[in-house]
Symmetry: C2
Subunit: 171 residues, 2 copies
C-alpha cells in the first residue's frame, strides 16, 4: 500500500479564505484574488503574521471543498498521513488536532504528524502547496494550487486545482 | 551529515521518574524498580493512564541526566530531530513544545516532530525506548534502557543505559 502525506494549511484547511476573512474584518473590504496572487500570505495580508498566532485562526479555518470525501476514499486505498508544519506556532498544535477530529473523524491520531521541516517525512506521495516541502521530497509530488504559488511553474511537481482533480489522478 | 531521530519520553524526558512521583503522591509510598521492571507504565502504575492525560504531566517531567550536554554536542555533528509520539494525548503537544524550549533552547521548531506512528520517519539513526518504534525503522537503532524494556532482548538494537553511553558511541 502506497504511503501518502497530505498537508493541512492551503490543502485541506482553507487558510487562504481564513486570511481573507480576518483581513476583511480588519480593513473593511475583501481583497481581490489578483491582489494576492504570487505573494506569500505574510505579504499579501498586512496583518498575516499576526493572524497565524491568533487563537482560533487554525481552529476555525474552513474545510477545503471536496477534501473530506476524497480523503475518506484515499484513506481506504493508501496508508494516509496528515503532515502539517505546525511547530512554528505552538498554539496551533492543539487547534489542528481538534480541527482534524471535528472535520476528519476517520483520521486517527496515529495518522497525524505535526512538524517543522518535512525533510524527515518518508512517503511515496506528497500533496502540498509549498515548493519548499515538495522540492526535497523523493517521491511523487502533487502541488495543490494556492494564490501564493500560482505564478510558479515546475516540471517536477504535478499541479492540481481542486480535490476533484486529486481524486481523478489518485483514486 | 547523518540524520538522527531522538525520542522524548523515557529518553530525554524522565517520564518514569514522573510516574514514580505522581504514583507516590497518590499511594503514599514509592514503588521499587523491581516492582515495575518489565511492565508498561499503564500496568506498573495503577493510575498511569490517567497521569498521561493530566495537565502538566509532560510539562513538568524531569530532564534525563546528561541529555542536555550530549544533545547539544550531537546537534553540531548530526542533523538532529526530536521525534515524539504525542498526538495520542493532544494536551501534551503544547506542553512538550514548551518543555523543549525550556530545557533544550538550542533545538529549533524546525527540528521538532510530534506524531503518532513513527513509521513515517526517515532518518539514519533512531534513539528510542520502545521496540514498536525501533523494529520497523530501517536505519541504525539504539534502545534506551527503561524499566519497561529491561527484560526484552534484541540483537537488532544496540542497548544503552545512559546518555554518557550514547556520547561514547555517537560523538
Amino acid at each position: 500500500m502506497e504511503r501518502i502525506a497530505i498537508d493541512m494549511d492551503g490543502v485541506i484547511a482553507d487558510t487562504t479564505e481564513q486570511f481573507f476573512s480576518f483581513d476583511e474584518r480588519d480593513f473593511g473590504k475583501r481583497r481581490t484574488l489578483e491582489e494576492i496572487t504570487g505573494k506569500p500570505e505574510s505579504v499579501a495580508f498586512p496583518r498575516g503574521k499576526e493572524y497565524v498566532r491568533t487563537k482560533d485562526f487554525f481552529r476555525t479555518a474552513p474545510v477545503m471543498k471536496d477534501s473530506q470525501n476524497v480523503l475518506s476514499a484515499l484513506n481506504k486505498q493508501y496508508e494516509m498521513f496528515i503532515v502539517s508544519a505546525a511547530t512554528e506556532f505552538p498554539l496551533s498544535l492543539f487547534e489542528k488536532h481538534q480541527w482534524l477530529q471535528e472535520h476528519f473523524p476517520f483520521i486517527t491520531w496515529q495518522q497525524m504528524v505535526f512538524c517543522g521541516s518535512k525533510t524527515i517525512i518518508d512517503a511515496d506521495i506528497m500533496i502540498d502547496d509549498h515548493f519548499k516541502n515538495l522540492d526535497p521530497f523523493k517521491g511523487r509530488t502533487i502541488l495543490f494550487s494556492q494564490p501564493h504559488n500560482l505564478l510558479l511553474q515546475s516540471s517536477k511537481h504535478q499541479r492540481v486545482n481542486s480535490w476533484k482533480e486529486v481524486a481523478d489522478i489518485l483514486l
